[in-house]
């Protein structure tokens, strides 16, 4: 009911209210608790093939995280923000997309890119330090990893909107952390998406921390998913360690977007098991006990238990998955141990479509310096 329709014996005539609700808030509100499948009765319905696929990817992801972290210790990566413990959400984000869809990862989400099929060496280029982006975003439909937090969210909205205007059936899935939800860009992106009914899915991985800052210092909201109602889009709260629940909820959100019903905000409740990056010391701001409690809710464990209980995998099967992950890790290790071939002249290559006169001068200067250096080396 609106002001206008309000009936009361003493009611004055009332004009058409400009504020008239556009949407019914009730269906936009998230569940009171995170949606779960694994460990509940609903798990029995889960497709065995999907369970196996998710399991393989999550194990793969865990191994990838471990390998990348090891590479930082060997000086082969400048920095690595691990998603250990968050593999279910990372993997599900990649698997729910069609090839024509776009993924907008944050700086942490190399695993989602890898799960989407990107060569891990390319995914890690930024973090190795040889270039800002190691792949062609158009080829893979993976936006560059975004270091400035939440800034990639409006990009996802714009791209999805553009695709819709062109009549292309493309959905964009954008990833952000709990901390990133505090940025103005988060707000503006969600608002544009809702007003434009753009085919976007916003996935917030609430891993408990923004570096050292716990969620309680980040927001006073009931849940991050509750933010959705303020934009007029549905909010979904999901157990982020439950790969099946994540896959289901994200699939629904993607389908909803694809069918023209607009954006969805999904909050995945998870936990960052490692420090913020290899350079961080997590013992400064959290206890081992807290970390330990999350081990019992490990995404691999949840899947493995389900697969085992239902007899969908045996020890040999598990070993095969692990072997496969090991092969990937060995390959990655080997390739990351090679120094990338870099040309310093590339510094000037793509600043503009065409070099400015000033950049031509500067490129000449560097060229001369490099030549002199090379001569010096020979002499």
């Amino acid at each position: 009911m609106t002001v206008m329709e309000q009936r009361d014996s003493r009611t004055t005539p009332v004009p058409p209210p400009a504020w008239q609700p556009r949407t019914d808030p009730a269906p936009l509100l998230p569940d009171a608790e995170p949606y779960r499948v694994l460990g509940t009765d609903a798990a029995a319905q889960a497709d065995p093939a999907l369970l196996r696929r998710l399991y393989a990817e999550v194990v793969h992801g865990r191994r990838y995280n471990a390998q990348a972290t090891a590479l930082t210790r060997q000086g082969r990566l400048a920095v690595y923000p691990s998603t250990t413990g968050q593999e279910a959400a990372e993997v599900a984000a990649a698997l729910v997309l069609q090839e024509r869809d776009w993924l907008f990862p944050s700086y942490r989400d190399t695993l989602a890119a890898v799960a989407r099929g990107l060569d891990p060496v390319q995914a890690l280029t930024l973090l190795r330090g040889d270039w800002h982006t190691g792949y062609d975003p158009r080829e893979h439909r993976i936006a560059p990893l975004s270091t400035p937090l939440a800034t990639q969210l409006p990009h996802a909205v714009g791209l999805a909107h553009a695709a819709r205007l062109k009549g292309d059936d493309v959905v964009a899935l954008a990833m952000v952390g709990d901390g990133g939800t505090s940025e103005g860009d988060f707000h503006e992106a969600l608002n544009f998406a809702a007003v434009w009914q753009a085919p976007v899915v916003f996935l917030v991985q609430n891993n408990g921390f923004a570096i050292s800052v716990p969620l309680a210092k980040q927001t006073a909201a009931p849940t991050l998913a509750h933010k959705a109602v303020g934009y007029g889009m549905p909010g979904r709260l999901v157990d982020g360690n439950d790969a099946v629940a994540m896959h289901e909820v994200l699939s629904e959100a993607v389908a909803r977007a694809r069918e023209g019903h607009g954006p969805t905000l999904v909050e995945a409740v998870t936990y960052r098991m490692d420090a913020h990056t290899n350079a961080d010391d997590a013992t400064r701001y959290r206890t081992d006990a807290e970390v330990e409690t999350w081990r019992a809710h490990d995404p691999i464990l949840l899947l493995e238990r389900e697969l085992t209980e239902r007899g969908l995998i045996d020890d040999a099967g598990i070993q095969a998955v692990r072997d496969d992950a090991e092969t990937m890790a060995a390959g990655l290790r080997e390739r990351m141990n090679q120094d990338p071939a870099l040309d310093p002249m590339d510094l000037f290559g793509d600043v503009y479509a065409e070099r400015t006169p000033q950049l031509r001068e500067q490129a000449d200067q560097l060229r001369a310096e490099l030549d002199a250096e090379a001569e010096g080396d020979q002499a």
């Binding site: 270039w131 909205v157 714009g158 909107h161 103005g184």
Partner: protein, 339 residues
């Protein structure tokens, strides 16, 4: 950078304002290229607060000329995404100071996306910003923010000073595969010139400065809102026996060192004139370049005439801040003519 071919229709030259020429440039660009999308606050139904986009929503539909929510970072950020998908967004920022909320998107993404992706994701987008003072605007409506954009590699920074350039440079900017910050001098919106909208003349490409008035005694280097001031000053100087050359830079990035240095080598004296604050403003860069390139030709130091180093003043005091003809002439007088 591309120049724009003449549209076929004939027509006749008549007085037109810069605002009209800008509007026409948008219209022609949209008609020619369906990937051009105009977006911003009030650009649709209203046609923009300066009416530059008037009629576009009607002609091309609201999907091509879109009233956005009121959020500049969101406007520019979504435009980045649209450009990633191959569109050519033309963003309007309502006033200079209201582009600041979008600063992070501009500096960290728009300017760097091509470089970040080794050319895979160019940013063929134009950010139109009405800038500068002299129109009696209250605070935050009269900023000269070009220094910020000049200091940001990856951006092209363009500013027209004539009606023909308003059309031609805006067409070139929209056609450019690089992001352009297109600075529109507010107080020239209603300046007029004879101009043929059906056969707009080609103008020199972005990156080329133009000698608007030849002279031999000294060079005034300027752009945008200060060009008319300099031309007027040059006329007045003639009476004092100073024959001044006036250069309109047209783009701050790329900067046309060749034209500027050739002129100053010829005249031996130079004054840089702009309305932006002096300290840390564009004039420092320009004076430094000229001094370095023309050192042995200079008869006097390169001087600068600029706005004061203060927040833009309230309307009733702005005339004391804006560099006018007198200040330009004062500077010219200090060019050590007796040497």
């Amino acid at each position: 950078m591309t120049t724009v071919a003449k549209p076929p229709a004939a027509g006749s030259a008549k007085p037109a304002t810069m605002a009209q020429a800008l509007g026409r440039a948008l219209r022609d660009a949209m008609a020619e290229d369906p990937s051009v999308h105009v977006m911003g606050e009030d650009v649709g139904t209203l046609g923009g607060v300066f009416r530059i986009t008037d009629g576009l929503a009607k002609e091309f539909g609201e999907d091509r000329c879109t009233d956005t929510p009121l959020a500049e970072a969101g406007i520019l950020g979504t435009a980045v995404g649209m450009a990633m998908y191959g569109l050519r967004p033309v963003v309007e920022m309502q006033f200079d100071a209201f582009a600041y909320p979008a600063f992070e998107q501009l500096v960290s993404h728009v300017a760097r996306m091509r470089n970040r992706t080794r050319g895979a994701l160019p940013m063929p987008l134009t950010v139109r910003i009405p800038y500068g003072g002299g129109i009696g605007g209250v605070e935050h409506h009269s900023d000269s923010s070009e220094a910020y954009y000049m200091a940001t590699p990856g951006l092209t920074v363009v500013t027209p000073a004539t009606v023909a350039d308003a059309y031609g440079l805006l067409r070139q900017s929209i056609a450019s595969d690089d992001p352009v910050v297109f600075l529109e001098p507010k107080r020239l919106y209603w300046s007029k010139d004879t101009w043929n909208p059906e056969r707009p003349a080609d103008v020199e490409p972005i990156g080329t400065a133009v000698v608007r008035r030849p002279g031999t005694g000294a060079t005034l280097i300027t752009y945008g809102p200060s060009l008319p001031v300099c031309l007027e000053a040059a006329e007045a100087a003639q009476a004092e026996g100073w024959d001044l050359e006036v250069i309109d830079l047209r783009s701050l990035v790329p900067f046309d060192d060749a034209t500027v240095a050739a002129s100053v080598r010829r005249t031996g004296r130079a004054v840089v004139v702009h309305e932006s604050g002096g300290f840390g403003g564009p004039g420092g860069e320009i004076a430094a370049r000229v001094s370095e390139r023309c050192f042995h030709y200079l008869q006097a130091p390169v001087l600068r005439v600029a706005g004061f180093d203060i927040p833009y003043p309230p309307p009733m005091l702005e005339r004391h801040h804006l560099p006018g003809v007198d200040r330009v002439l004062d500077a010219v007088a200090r060019l050590q003519w007796d040497q």
